[in-house]
């Protein structure tokens, strides 16, 4: 059986690559390779995963220089001459090996107003929102985010400015300001367009190019920019 050469980041911010060889199998994802290394060769290797089917968003890593969801990335799609380099996601502190500290990433969701605050209680009747409503469709376009932080790792603006809220948090804010069940849309918009918000985006589009579930944080951020101008001009949001 032929083998794959795998270089995996070991250590914290200061660390080095460690080389491994694993059997090259016909159906094998990057996560399978990392798991094989950890189970068979290096039990001390740290990495995150949970669902293994592209739902939980916990297994993202940098593979051959690009952030990817490793459970849905087939080896054949990324291996170059039978070699793979696997690193932790960038733009977040490394805890150990392939595991990042995602505290800032998730706190920025809160800073962007990402908590749902509805207008009714569970005792009220469920409000009917037609799926054909234009605002609902805008919200629907962004709601399938799995919080994997691939867009956040791909974003150069986050890399330059650690305070920038980033594509995932702003995408969440965009879904809320278009969600007709949300009671604090103005508050969310103010947070999303405030300091370190959507105006910091440089429109490079790395987020949209990288999103593993095909969302477009770039579209959401531009929508927020448009809304911020309308808000400034006094048009009701």
């Amino acid at each position: 059986m032929s083998t794959l050469k795998v270089k995996i980041w070991r250590g914290e911010e200061d660390g080095e690559f460690q080389s491994f060889e694993v059997p090259a199998r016909e159906n094998q994802t990057i996560l399978d390779v990392v798991t094989e290394v950890q189970r068979q060769q290096e039990p001390g290797l740290s990495y995150r995963f949970a669902c293994r089917v592209g739902v939980c968003g916990s297994c993202a890593m940098t593979v051959n220089g690009k952030p990817r969801w490793t459970c849905r990335t087939h080896i054949n799609a990324v291996a170059k001459d039978g070699e793979i380099t696997i690193e932790p996601l960038r733009n977040m502190p490394v805890i150990k090996d392939l595991t990042c500290d995602m505290t800032d990433f998730f706190q920025k969701w809160q800073k962007a107003g990402g908590t749902f605050k509805g207008t009714v209680t569970r005792k009220d009747k469920v409000v009917t929102i037609p799926p054909s409503s234009p605002k609902r469709q805008k919200a629907d376009a962004g709601i399938e985010c799995i919080n994997c932080a691939v867009c956040y790792a791909a974003c150069d603006t986050v890399n330059w400015d650690s305070e920038y809220l980033g594509p995932a948090a702003l995408n969440r804010a965009w879904t809320l300001v278009n969600d007709e069940r949300v009671g604090n849309q103005k508050e969310v918009l103010d947070k999303a367009i405030g300091d370190n918000g959507c105006s910091s985006c440089h429109s490079q589009g790395n987020c949209t190019a990288s999103c593993p579930v095909g969302l477009s944080p770039s579209q959401s951020i531009h929508g927020l920019k448009r809304m911020s101008l309308l808000s400034f001009l006094g048009t009701e949001v």
């Binding site: 690559f17 690009k66 960038r90 190019a209 095909g214």
Partner: protein, 119 residues
């Protein structure tokens, strides 16, 4: 060996943003020179005439061609950003990347037109 610190940059929108930024920086560097030469018209017409004679040299024409191309690139890529921000997107991946190529072709055509006129 250090970590790569790479991003997913090799796509059209990224190169458009780099083109927009670099052309803007180059034009910003040119503006002080432009205003200085303009000021010669008010302060030292002899020096202005001397500079204008120098500006008729082929090397300056090539420089002017570069400026014209940079202006078209900066304007067209800037218009693309305004379109992205103020017009509705047709779908999630609608980065209006076709406008990047329109801008490049416009810069090429206007650059060639300028060179033909200058020769």
């Amino acid at each position: 060996m250090a970590r790569s610190n790479k991003a997913a940059r090799n796509h059209t929108s990224y190169w458009a943003s780099i083109g927009h930024r670099l052309s803007g920086l180059a034009l910003a560097a040119f503006i002080p020179v432009h205003f200085y030469v303009l000021s010669l018209a008010a302060n030292d017409t002899g020096a202005l005439d001397g500079f204008l004679a120098l500006a008729d040299q082929p090397l300056f024409k090539i420089g002017e061609w570069g400026l014209v191309v940079l202006l078209v690139i900066h304007m067209s890529f800037g218009i693309r950003v305004l379109i992205l921000e103020f017009l509705p997107w047709r779908h999630g991946k609608d980065g209006r990347t076709n406008l990047v190529w329109v801008g490049c072709i416009a810069a090429l055509i206007i650059g060639v037109y300028f060179l033909v006129r200058a020769v």
